[in-house]
Symmetry: C2
Subunit: 136 residues, 2 copies
């Protein structure tokens, strides 16, 4: 039995799929990016969500709280097929963090990227990954 | 300006995020895999959706029609952090295809994997990728 099993079921129109872990919550994705995010957007959401969840978990363990949290992921792609990602920039935007806790957030980002993030470590190693942490 | 920009907005509870391309359709993803697919499930959905969309597009150009289409993706992961994918198996299940068109579907799968799929070409090159095509 595999660790993670997902199923995509074509909706018999356009490039729309209902997708999810078997028996788990589903999302709609759309090869044309209209009825739902496109596959390459979904792939990047998975990556950004992985590191974002790490930050929440690590910050929780460090007892750092915040009022708002957003991750923006910007991907550059190869101009010809396959239009793979060549460069990914992650911007972590955190609101309402005490001055004294900001270094902990930066450390959480570093820990996620270097040690914990399963998605970041699943992408091509020659994809140039950069990041920024912004406090509001 | 980056080619693909996504935004994940934390919902201020658990590990739930609303995510999507800026100004595009959104999905809910959940680090705990309850309110929505988990990030690593989402990442695999993106990959499977990418190759699935290729098949629809290539089959369309080959004028091959089918009654149903599903992609199952099975991922094995490293047992320790980072729990990256080590092995991915893709099963393409196609229903209602003429005997004479089955070879074309197999060819479409091969073209997607070798040449077109932007997500497959964005993952680590040492991830062992296997696939099967099943006709119903």
């Amino acid at each position: 039995m595999a660790d993670t099993v997902v199923l995509l079921h074509w909706q018999n129109r356009g490039m729309e799929f209902v997708a999810g872990r078997e028996g788990g919550p589903t999302v709609i994705i759309d090869g044309n990016g209209k009825a739902g995010p496109s596959p390459m957007v979904t792939f990047l959401i998975g990556l950004a969500g992985c590191t974002a969840s790490d930050i929440l978990e690590i910050a929780g363990k460090m007892r750092v709280t915040f009022g708002g949290f957003e991750v923006r992921a910007e991907g550059d792609r190869w101009p010809e097929p396959p239009r793979r990602y060549t460069k990914i920039r992650l911007v972590y935007r955190v609101a309402g963090v005490n001055e004294g806790d900001r270094e902990k957030i930066r450390r959480a980002v570093q820990l996620s990227q270097e040690k914990y993030c399963s998605a970041i470590h699943s992408i091509r190693q020659d994809i140039e990954l950069t990041s920024d942490v912004e406090f509001e």
